[in-house]
């Protein structure tokens, strides 16, 4: 079925719209979601949320390009699911996160209160100082939990290059945190 017809079904509040979207773009949604979530079980869970989000979004939104709109919805829903999983299960289950211990300022004190907003501002600002590759590699490793092997494949680098890049970024982060007196 053509995209325009599927959108029309959404506008007419026909539940057939969801079936048609799944039939035509089910695999595509899965691929987009898998890219963010990294495992098939979460991908299946995300699929239903994505279709529900489409149902709730159209109308009032009338997408100019259904596939592009679906991509946006799928990515954001998958990201939110990943966030909630990490909140629920604890971020620290990620082995890769131990590497960030290196970023802890050497003079860090246990007495200072954690200022979430300040740290968020600092990290955002820190990310903006990194190159495109550095920023993506950092987030793929420490937010998405990608393995060194996967990063090497995705970025077309050798594994040693990825490790070296991560090491340099961690060092930059440590210097930034120290400079901002965040943990002193």
């Amino acid at each position: 079925m053509e995209d325009e017809k599927i959108v029309q079904l959404y506008l007419q509040r026909s539940e057939e719209a969801i079936a048609c979207t799944e039939q035509k773009y089910g695999a595509y949604i899965g691929a987009v979601s898998l890219n963010i979530l990294g495992n098939l079980a979460d991908m299946d869970e995300a699929k239903n949320d994505i279709l529900l989000a489409m149902w709730n979004s159209i109308p009032p939104i009338v997408p100019e390009n259904l596939k592009a709109f679906l991509t946006t919805v799928a990515r954001r829903v998958s990201l939110n699911l990943l966030r909630s999983k990490k909140r629920l299960n604890g971020f620290l289950l990620d082995v890769s996160f131990e590497e960030l211990d290196e970023c802890m300022p050497v003079r860090a004190s246990t007495e200072d209160a954690f200022d979430a907003e300040e740290l968020k501002r600092t990290i955002s600002s820190f990310l903006s100082t990194l190159s495109d590759d550095e920023r993506r590699i950092f987030l793929c490793r420490y937010f998405y939990g990608d393995s060194i092997k996967k990063l090497a494949k995705d970025f077309y680098f050798t594994q040693s290059k990825i490790k070296m890049t991560l090491k340099r970024v961690r060092e930059k982060l440590r210097v930034t945190l120290e400079k901002e007196d965040l943990y002193l």
Binding site: L92, D101, M104, A108, Y156, Y183
Partner: protein, 484 residues
Amino acid sequence: MKKEEFRNDLAKTLIELDDDTLLDAKDPAYFTRRRRSRRRARTLIALVAAFALLAVSLPLALFLNKAPETPIGTVSDFSTEALPFAQSSTLGNGGGAEYADFGVSLIARAVKMLPDDYLLYGYHEDKTFRIHEMETVTSPGAPQMPASFYLLLPEEYAVDLTAYEKLALFVIPQLCHEDAVVYNKTESRAESLSLMLFGGTSYGGIGGMNCCKFAAIRDGKIDASLWSANETWKRDTAYSLEKYLDGEAIFTVYRSYVDPAQNKTVKQDSGYNDILEAVKAANENDEHFRTRTIRSIDQATSAEAIRVLQTVKPFDHGVYVPDINAHYLAKDPMQFQYRRYINGFATSEYYNIMDNNHVQTPERVFTDEDLKSLPDAAGAMDAVKSKYDEGGIVPPHFTAEGATTVQNAFFGWYAKTDRGVFFVVKVMWLITAKNMWHYDDCYFITSNNGADLKEISRDDLLEILGNDNSFVYQDEYNAVKPYC
């Protein structure tokens, strides 16, 4: 401070980072671009190494009185069997697998419906089209519209439009450049069209949607009978017809959902002037159409940019669809990519124009000498299609139990390389297996030096094409692909 606390703080912070930052890190477009640039670099290194090897091996071979083995192959090295050339006129389609969702709006009249069935190159083969010869009655807001043109209708929409006095056509894309080539399914050959081809792969009535919209006009008013001309029209324009019969029909101009004020409401008793006004509004508000045509040309100011536009512009009317990188267009409307078309087929020659002035020129451009001895593009397309129809071409990379080919398409382009000019035919498949999509393709190549058309592996093709390889599939085969 304990390490766990520190980790926890960082973890919370990363979770709360904004969506755009996090999603950007996983942007598939970035990885695709990156893979391409790394492959190019790798190819360059391989070429340099090859030349270095040649430089070393040649004197050594001479010394040993033995012919050197060149590391760079020629067309005659390709191992697969040659295909016979077919006889046909020249012609082609510049588009990819998906067509533009923007266009021009006008009032037109159907002159005649051509008798044959057609397929579009670059578009999946399970869709057959019919073509009408049309004449423009008026196109307010789009003065560059040619006086005559061809209109493409998917077979399921094909009713004889000469039965209608006039037609209001809204947001009708131009599908091909002048001299476009399509596949005449009835006569089994490529056919060059003498007029520009407009049309869509789906049509609707005048309500809300942004697909191509049609309204027949009789005695200066909308003739709703078109919307029930056959079962497809009835099905796909039911929404429009209902709105119309309710006493209100909405001509929704492009991007109207962004700015509802751009909508033009036409009541049942509206006259011809109201329809004309809606046509004009559609043209004036169709930002994509204007951006890609008039505005992009008008705003080019440097002599180099103007020269390039004249080179790649294969038309007289100023209405065309340049091969624009939509990503750039979305990011920065002042940055365009123009591809040159020859004999209706795309070429490897494309230019990036930034800020309407700065021009990035490709490594290799087609010269007048090249144009005198081009490979037989239409013959190559016909030969591959013929072999495919006989069952001689199957997906080479993807084999899985229960796999089903859902769509297949053909695409061809001229490639200027260090080894001469080639014409490459790409056969594409979209396959389903185990509820997932897969993509596969294969390539055929012919040159202007008399070599026969032969199948070529992707690696060998990339070696020949060098950096100008944007039509070659770059990802791994057997990977799960989005539907496209």
